[in-house]
């Protein structure tokens, strides 16, 4: 009987279609994720423009990014540095043919509306001796810290439950919003504040509650924004409350979390 070429092709294709192959011990295609791309920016706080670079240097990878809300289908393929001239939240993810897409990473960029240098700041209690930063003035140096809080002195670290900040200006200034920068890094037992309240002469002007932490939340540089009645003020008091205790899903459950602050912005 002649064996037709078509018979051979069909048999080979059938064998390739078997539902289950013998087990390979090696990690295979599309089983693990890419890491999120690195976001490099000249300054998170900027006066006119911020320049953003996205990095994922691995052969075959691409980066998709966008501004504002992210969805699975929107976004632009990254090719050149991005210029941002208004406050915005930038998101990005990395993709590669051999791996699952990365989780989305994001960074909030702020256009500075008001220079805070010249603002006197008093803090109570003092930061923990391990994380004194460079004193209270780092809260008005117009620079954010980064997630490597152990390096440098860009952060004030507290483990005291509630922190009081007293802000004072040489003469009254027009204010409608206060923003305060914080760090959330649960692996280091650092949690976002629970609530921030703003007072003037003991009268509460506004408050902001921060979203409760979740178990798989990645570390973030957060910024809590507290609108207050638009008016002129010469002094303000901020009460920043940490969580009463680290949540039950964390290995430090029940203990007092760390609170890290790095910047105050005024609009």
């Amino acid at each position: 009987m002649r064996v037709h070429l078509l018979h051979i092709v069909l048999i080979l294709l059938f064998l390739g279609c078997k539902e289950k192959r013998e087990t390979t011990p090696f990690l295979t295609h599309k089983k693990v994720r890419m890491a999120p791309p690195m976001i490099e920016v000249d300054s998170i706080l900027f006066h006119k423009e911020a320049r953003v670079l996205l990095k994922m240097d691995l052969e075959g990878s691409t980066i998709t990014y966008g501004l504002g809300e992210t969805t699975e289908t929107n976004g632009t393929t990254y090719e050149d540095p991005i210029s941002i001239d208004e406050s915005a939240s930038l998101w990005a993810r990395a993709e590669h043919p051999d791996f699952l897409p990365s989780e989305t990473t994001s960074l909030a960029l702020y256009r500075i509306k008001r220079n805070t240098t010249g603002m006197a700041i008093a803090i109570a209690p003092s930061p923990h001796p391990n994380y004194p930063g460079e004193g209270a003035q780092i809260l008005s140096d117009m620079r954010r810290g980064d997630q490597n809080f152990r390096k440098g002195k860009a952060w004030l670290g507290f483990q005291s439950g509630t922190v009081q900040l007293q802000l004072r200006w040489a003469s009254p200034i027009h204010i409608s919003k206060i923003s305060i920068g914080f760090l959330a890094d649960h692996s280091a037992w650092i949690f976002a504040p629970k609530k921030i309240s703003v007072f003037s002469a003991k009268q509460k002007l506004g408050e902001q509650t921060v979203d409760s932490p979740t178990e798989h939340q990645s570390s973030q540089l957060g910024m809590a924004q507290i609108p207050i009645p638009e008016s002129t003020y010469q002094e303000l008091q901020l009460t920043i409350e940490s969580l009463e205790a680290i949540p039950s899903w964390h290995q430090g459950k029940g203990t007092l979390p760390w609170l890290f602050l790095d910047e105050i912005l005024i609009e």
Binding site: L10, L13, R21, D57, H186
Partner: protein
């Protein structure tokens, strides 16, 4: 007849065409991924060291060595079995060790044909020398005689390296950042280093090894993990040179042939879960970073490194076997067992 044959052939051909995409897709799903760069690339066996955690539990998997029989010895700080011994296929051979709650550093040394282990224990604040089956033969207690420590608790040794004559160098990587040089009898000879940012000082002197690759005799390679630097010292404690590895939080140097292998526990901004493996060539340039981005040098300086693939969480040590496969032990990774990278 011809028409019947034509219909039959056409049907088979059409069936084959329809089956082809599914077949090709199923083959693509089983494609083994390869990580690493340049001459050092690897396939990944994520399950190599997996054991039943009810019987052979681990907390942190800290370090691994290979003995002359080819066995892979893993050190964990779980006191049910501080030492877990595998063959290179990942089969469990034996376990021992219940007295090392702070088991952190593991070094193997061949002393006149007999092999010994040196265990650096963070919680016992001492280094313990044992046989390969767990008999303690010598203890190097905290160096009170150095005058550098007020209490035993200030001394938190992370790693050792052993000279051919039996002299022991201990890195106090979690304590006051000194390097302590003992003779084989345990007598303290010299102390150098300490905490600081200058070249001859350390921020987290986490790992140490002896480097015999150069023509001028052995030197010491010591990681300054928080500084992202690998530092070279003479055997008498003089700083010689430093290799910058920006973005790479390197744990301990392991030399195999001409290359240096370093588990890189964090990377980039040092966030949780950002590790990879670093491999340096004979000139101490980073040439491959399995799990990391492509190493690039511009004007002699390495571009900052970062994680590219979420394979490793917190790699703490790399063991290189005789076939140049790698075994990666991880810290604070959810009590996971070591991963094997197979050289391709």
């Amino acid at each position: 007849m011809k028409r019947r044959r034509f219909i039959r052939n056409t049907s088979m051909f059409t069936t084959g065409l329809c089956a082809a995409p599914a077949a090709l897709f199923s083959m693509e799903s089983y494609k083994d991924v390869i990580i690493g760069h340049d001459t050092h690339r690897y396939k990944i066996d994520l399950n190599w060291g997996a054991l039943n955690s009810q019987y052979y539990p681990v907390n942190d998997c800290h370090e691994m060595v290979q003995d002359s029989k080819g066995r892979i010895l893993l050190l964990t700080n779980h006191t049910k079995n501080n030492i877990i011994i595998y063959d290179t296929s990942g089969h469990l051979l034996e376990t021992w060790g219940t007295d090392y709650p702070g088991a952190h550093g593991l070094t193997l040394h061949n002393e006149n044909g007999e092999e010994f282990l040196y265990i650096s224990d963070n919680l016992r604040h001492e280094v313990i020398k044992t046989t390969l089956d767990g008999k303690e033969v010598q203890v190097f207690p905290y160096p009170r005689e150095s005058g550098k420590y007020d209490t035993k608790e200030q001394y938190i040794p992370t790693e050792t390296t052993i000279a051919p004559n039996g002299d022991v160098f201990v890195a106090d990587g979690y304590g006051k950042q000194y390097i302590l040089h003992y003779n084989a009898d345990g007598e303290l000879l010299t102390v150098f280093g300490g905490k600081g940012d200058e070249d001859h000082l350390f921020n987290n002197a986490h790992g140490i090894c002896m480097d015999n690759r150069g023509p001028g005799g052995p030197t010491l390679l010591i990681t300054a993990r928080q500084q992202n630097k690998l530092k070279r010292f003479s055997m008498d404690g003089r700083f010689l040179e430093s290799y910058d590895l920006p973005g790479a939080y390197i744990c301990r140097p392991v030399i195999h042939g001409d290359h240096v292998y370093l588990a890189t526990i964090w990377s980039g901004d040092g966030s949780e879960g950002t590790g990879f493996v670093s491999i340096l060539d004979k000139d101490n340039r980073l040439i491959s970073a399995p799990g990391g981005c492509t190493p690039r040098y511009r004007n002699g300086a390495l571009d900052p490194m970062y994680q590219a693939i979420k394979i490793f969480y917190h790699p703490h040590d790399v063991c290189v076997d005789k076939d140049e496969n790698l075994y990666v032990a991880q810290w604070n990774s959810g009590k996971t067992y070591p991963i094997k990278l197979i050289r391709v």
